[in-house]
Symmetry: C2
Subunit: 376 residues, 2 copies
């Protein structure tokens, strides 16, 4: 019987030949790519790929090897496709981008909408991005803000997409799919909740606490020390503060920012009641035009995945082969289709980059319902 060393030498010899054949194969694929560039023929030929898989599988014996050679060829052919997409990009044959590059946003003349009322965290995010004195108005819900953008009554909306401790704002992901609005910017602001009430309110008298649901969650350790307080969800933390002012009821309090408390004439009864220190929220800036800033460096997309083993994995390979760093992946159920998911991926890049064009081209052919949510 051969020793491990002898067997490994045999493997090394086989591998020398395998590697040479691999290089020859990629060279022929490159020539096929040139031909496709010249003739405008599509890169992905599903019929040809199926035939190839059947052919190689028929040539080997045993179930294990049949399965193995098919996997290997799926990878080889996917690699060839990526090479050919690169060639198309290199030849300028990828066509026009659906998004228009702009040098800057006209922040000083922009009309901006935010959800909530005076003192909302999204107002703070808006001022951080557009400046303290920007021309703005507010609506009640995230959906109202998306509608204001879609119909054009505002140029931009500022909306929360992710909190550092609570995670994704699921509702916003669904809105980004539903509306034809696009992300053009983002900004992160610290979130520090306080408990606020009418001046003179005593902690012991409080019976009901109002806030946005996620804010109640983020302050749950403090609130649960007062287990008898009823926790009531409203659309926004600033709306909670306004309600406490309007009701003039000393048994009520709000979880909101110190700024919201001040705006609505409330006293801070307890400062910083966050469960987690350094809590912050990422807000996106949304508009109804397909534009991106020339220095944009992050792209958000969403897509559905066919029900086949490995298909999500193969789709993600477009990022890897184009050297694009994926920074985030989320999944959300697809409305009306039980247990099927839409994936949301963030990756680094600018839509003018060849690597990005290349990846998007491949994704569009292989994923279902690809939507580019924005480049920012």
């Amino acid at each position: 019987m051969a020793t491990l060393e002898e067997l490994r030498m045999q493997l090394d010899e086989i591998d020398d030949q395998l590697v040479n054949l691999y290089e020859s194969r990629m060279q022929v694929c490159r020539e096929v790519g040139e031909l496709k560039v010249n003739t405008g023929r599509k890169v992905f030929d599903r019929q040809r790929e199926r035939e190839k898989l059947e052919a190689v599988s028929a040539k080997v014996s045993g179930d294990f090897n049949k399965k193995g050679i098919q996997e290997l060829y799926e990878q080889l052919m996917s690699m060839s496709r990526k090479l050919q997409y690169q060639q198309l990009v290199g030849a300028g044959a990828l066509g026009r981008l659906p998004f228009i590059e702009v040098d800057s946003l006209d922040k000083s003349n922009a009309r901006v909408v935010f959800p909530g009322v005076e003192g909302a965290y999204s107002q703070a995010a808006m001022q951080h991005y557009f400046g303290e004195n920007c021309n703005s108005f507010h609506v009640r819900t995230f959906r109202d803000a998306m509608e204001a953008i879609e119909e054009g009554s505002a140029d931009y909306a500022v909306l929360p997409i992710e909190n550092s401790s609570a995670g994704a704002v699921d509702e916003m992901y669904d809105h980004l799919v539903e509306f034809e609005n696009y992300i053009v910017g983002e900004t992160v602001i610290p979130i520090t909740h306080t408990l606020a009430g009418l001046p003179g309110t005593k902690l012991d008298d409080i019976q009901r606490v109002y806030s946005k649901g996620v804010a109640l969650l983020q302050a749950s350790r403090f609130l649960n020390e007062h287990g008898n307080w009823q926790q009531i969800s409203v659309a926004n933390t600033s709306i909670a503060a306004k309600k406490v002012l309007d009701d003039q009821d000393y048994t009520q309090a709000a979880v909101c920012s110190a700024y919201a408390a001040k705006v609505h004439g409330l006293s801070v009864l307890e400062e910083n009641i966050n469960d987690v220190p350094n809590n912050s929220t990422r807000f996106i800036v949304v508009t109804n035009q397909k534009i991106f800033l020339h220095d944009a460096s992050k792209i958000s997309i969403c897509f559905e995945v066919p029900h086949e083993s490995g298909s999500l994995y193969h789709i993600l390979s477009h990022f890897i082969y184009n050297d694009l760093n994926m920074t985030k992946i989320e999944s959300r159920p697809i409305e009306g289709r039980n247990w099927e998911y839409r994936f949301f991926v963030d990756f680094e890049g600018n839509m003018a980059d060849a690597a990005v064009k290349n990846a998007i081209r491949g994704l569009r052919e292989e994923a279902r319902n690809l939507k580019i949510l924005g480049n920012y």
Copy 2:
């Protein structure tokens, strides 16, 4: 210049040789496997695999081909490992599992906890899984149920993990990481919300509607037609129904199941107020022992990913190369670390399968803080 047909003939010739080399290589790997079975040597030799990747990559030219040949060899070597694990299993030489296989759960003598009160959807799920007359008690929150299991005051807990329209129950994912409890079963039940109130309640008199936050969301279209109703979150839909009964207030209503309404002596004021038809929720059955049923077919794991380009993708390759179908992927923020994520993956398989052992071995080496949440 060659035609497409000529180039494809060249590819076919290369492929004939490639396929032969592949079969020879797998044969040598099989001999290596026999040797490893006889000598007790480990299948996965990270050092040898790294050297091989460097060697093949050095032999080809250009970044694209270097990356490609590495991908191809990662797949080839993973295939060899899979073959060798099969040989080990055939020889009865694969090590012990951290989970203990059981033939069945003793459902008739089990003590089961569910969150909420009589009439909760989790009670319905529990009865669906453990039978109508199972020995049970209830606690207020999901966390309370996880604690009851951890301390052993109940054998099993039944808890919601995912809704077909609202998506993941984020809180449960966090609990599965925090507690040393494991999933041993799952069951899906339909969720049909009704609006319920004291007998004689008129829709026009209602001012406040109580329910679990996610249930209010799932009925938001109906509820928003009555925009003046205050929507108040409580821990559970059945707790909402009980509150409406206890308060004896005709201005209050609950969003809950028809069964919860009946249990708490309420009248159904409006049937099926779901936004989406066919709404259903998947519940998991959790215990404090590391056990799995011999016919279990789904595995849930979670892990963190190092901050490197492509690392999530490479980690997912362990499922693909071991022929394990990934059915779900979720990400959640890691507590205390801003903008870092923990990934939750479900895939098909049983812990006794060689492919699963193989994948878990690879995942443990490459991902951070891998936790097996259960096989069910």
